[in-house]
């Protein structure tokens, strides 16, 4: 079943924040991540889809049915909350069986089905424990099993990994994706962690100030960001204010740069994007877009090394596998991307 959000608008009465005409769709089996800084409206979007808020305008369709005016309990959505929201007075098994109980399924069958759901998340041995006796990761898996056990139309994940430590987060990320694939369910995952979003999702929606800036695959989002904000929010980036000063030539604070200007007229203000891994160290003398400077920051991250090279007029952020001294770098023209100013 699919989730379609069409020109959705909402405004909080007091704060003035909200959503402005957000549209996106998640196909059956698709995993869509929604990212953005806090206050961008991503949680509001989730609450609107879940039915805990009512939109001022626009439409939400789940499996083709308009959800306007349908209360949350009838929307048949599996939701995993940030703090898991497991019922403290029930065991793991009872928690998972609860939505089946609400659907009038007999005790024996619902416990059986809940047991199978726990087995799928490798928790069968902990079925009789209460939430307070489970670790964060285990609670997370119980919450996931509970959200999926009643075969909901779609799965909504509200920052489900933010309460876990870094080591468990990566493993849980893979696990969520595996379970989601197995169920073939449309999934909307809200997170502030762009790395998490890129690694888990089929497509990523970037939001800011209540508006959807770009909806694209992780690769496209990284390689062809729609604007300066998306470029800076997703991954690391060199962003330069620039003015087109000739055919395939722009002027920046660090000097002229050769790049494809895609036929923009001279004098157009633009933003130039160069991803740090595209910056080459120690280019031959006379290479185009070559800069000489001094290393001001040097961070060894194991598999790579991230450095800041101070050049006249600015700083260039680069990533390299080399461990040698860095005095000059080159930004290859085909790695520079022109964005609106």
């Amino acid at each position: 079943m699919s989730v379609v959000v069409d020109s959705l608008a909402f405004r909080y009465p007091a704060a003035g924040a909200g959503l402005d005409g957000v549209s996106l769709d998640v196909a059956p089996g698709e995993f869509c991540a929604v990212i953005g800084p806090s206050g961008c409206g991503k949680s509001t979007l989730l609450k609107l889809i879940a039915g805990f808020l009512s939109p001022a305008a626009g439409q939400i369709r789940i499996a083709g049915t308009d959800m306007t005016g349908v209360p949350p309990r009838l929307r048949n959505l599996g939701i995993v909350f940030q703090n898991y929201a497991l019922f403290p007075h029930m065991t793991a098994l009872e928690n998972v069986a609860y939505p089946l109980k609400l659907r009038g399924i007999g005790r024996a069958e619902r416990l059986n089905r809940a047991g199978q759901a726990l087995e799928r998340t490798r928790l069968s041995g902990l079925a009789d424990r209460h939430p307070r006796q489970l670790s964060g990761g285990q609670q997370q898996r119980v919450a996931l099993a509970r959200a999926l056990v009643f075969a909901p139309g779609a799965l909504l994940l509200d920052e489900p990994l933010s309460a876990l430590d870094a080591a468990h987060r990566a493993a849980m990320r893979d696990e969520i994706r595996a379970v989601q694939r197995e169920h073939g369910i449309a999934t909307l995952h809200v997170t502030h962690d762009q790395e998490e979003a890129l690694s888990i999702a089929d497509k990523v929606a970037v939001m800011r100030d209540g508006a959807l800036l770009q909806l694209a695959s992780p690769q496209e989002l990284y390689d062809r960001p729609a604007d300066r904000f998306v470029a800076g929010f997703v991954g690391h980036a060199n962003l330069f204010d620039a003015t087109v000063c000739g055919p395939d030539l722009v002027e920046t604070s660090i000097g002229p740069l050769a790049c494809t200007t895609e036929g923009r007229p001279i004098g157009t203000a633009v933003t130039l994007l160069a991803r740090p891994e595209a910056v080459r160290t120690d280019p031959p003398d006379g290479a185009v877009n070559r800069f000489t400077g001094t290393l001001v920051r040097d961070r060894f991250l194991g598999s790579l090394r991230r450095y800041d090279l101070a050049v006249p007029g600015g700083t260039i952020l680069g990533e390299t596998l080399s461990r040698g001294d860095i005095r000059s770098v080159q930004i290859p023209p085909d790695c520079l991307r022109i964005l609106p100013a």
Binding site: F52, P72, F81, F87, H89, Y98, R103, R132
Partner: protein, 261 residues
């Protein structure tokens, strides 16, 4: 420091120990300790009609107080917990401080003024006693309940239940009440202990035939010392039992704070 602690403990326990000794002492007049040993005072207590009636009154008032505070307290605590308006929260804070800030004496005088009038002639009735106890104990129950609701993050639990398909009734009976049962029972036992031991207010507003135990007990101190000591020991026993029950009912509450992450 250990000496100070020991002295303080002695200061706390000495009166209780003296009462216990006095309750089995045969005669106690103008001496540090009583002389002789007897169980007679307890027997006399058992056969005293006014004490037996007071005991029954106290238990009845206690049960009624618990029932009424629970019926009012749960929805009221829920409303305060769910209120986002500043004014409601401020009012709730005042309510929580009321039994500390306003002495029972003040409440008692207020009751006398209002309910001895011709239009509201209820002074001395059992129900007025119950409502007095409700007013003075309700804040304690509410405080326990609201704190537990906040600790449990009840709103999120309800939201989760709603997303899983639960309607209002199902959430109330399946999630809200069961997850509050520990704080509700520990809060109610506290209410019971307070109600059984309540003297100031009861002394002012109880009618002659509906005097609760502590009020009757005061009269005993004008008579034989041993008898009064035995009566006090009985009250103490009840209070200790309530406190122990309250502690064991609330045992699960603090442990939930240490949820492993």
């Amino acid at each position: 420091m250990p000496i100070v602690t020991a002295l303080y403990l002695l200061y706390l326990t000495a009166p209780i120990a003296l009462l216990a000794i006095g309750s089995v002492g045969e005669s106690w007049t103008n001496s540090l300790l009583p002389s002789g040993l007897t169980a007679g005072w307890y027997g006399q207590l058992w056969s005293d009609a006014s004490f037996r009636r007071a005991f029954t009154v106290s238990l009845t008032v206690c049960v009624a107080t618990c029932a009424v505070t629970a019926l009012i307290g749960v929805p009221l605590a829920y409303a305060i917990y769910g209120a986002s308006r500043r004014g409601v929260r401020a009012a709730a804070r005042v309510l929580f401080l009321l039994p500390v800030a306003a002495p029972p004496l003040v409440l008692g005088f207020g009751f006398i003024l209002v309910f001895s009038s011709d239009s509201l002639p209820f002074l001395g009735s059992g129900w007025l006693l119950v409502s007095g106890h409700v007013v003075s104990t309700l804040p304690y129950l509410m405080q326990t309940l609201v704190a537990d609701m906040r600790h449990l993050d009840l709103v999120t639990l309800e939201t989760a239940a709603e997303s899983l398909g639960a309607g209002f009734r199902q959430r109330l009976l399946g999630i809200v009440i069961p997850s509050l049962r520990q704080s509700l029972s520990s809060g109610l036992i506290m209410v019971a202990a307070l109600s059984i031991g309540e003297f100031q207010l009861s002394n002012l507003i109880a009618g002659f035939l509906s005097r609760p135990y502590p009020v009757v007990l005061l009269q005993a101190f004008y008579g034989a010392t041993g008898f009064a000591c035995a009566g006090t020991m009985l009250l103490l026993l009840l209070a200790v039992l309530s406190a122990l029950a309250s502690a064991s009912a609330g045992r699960g509450l603090p442990s939930r704070k240490g949820t492993p992450s």
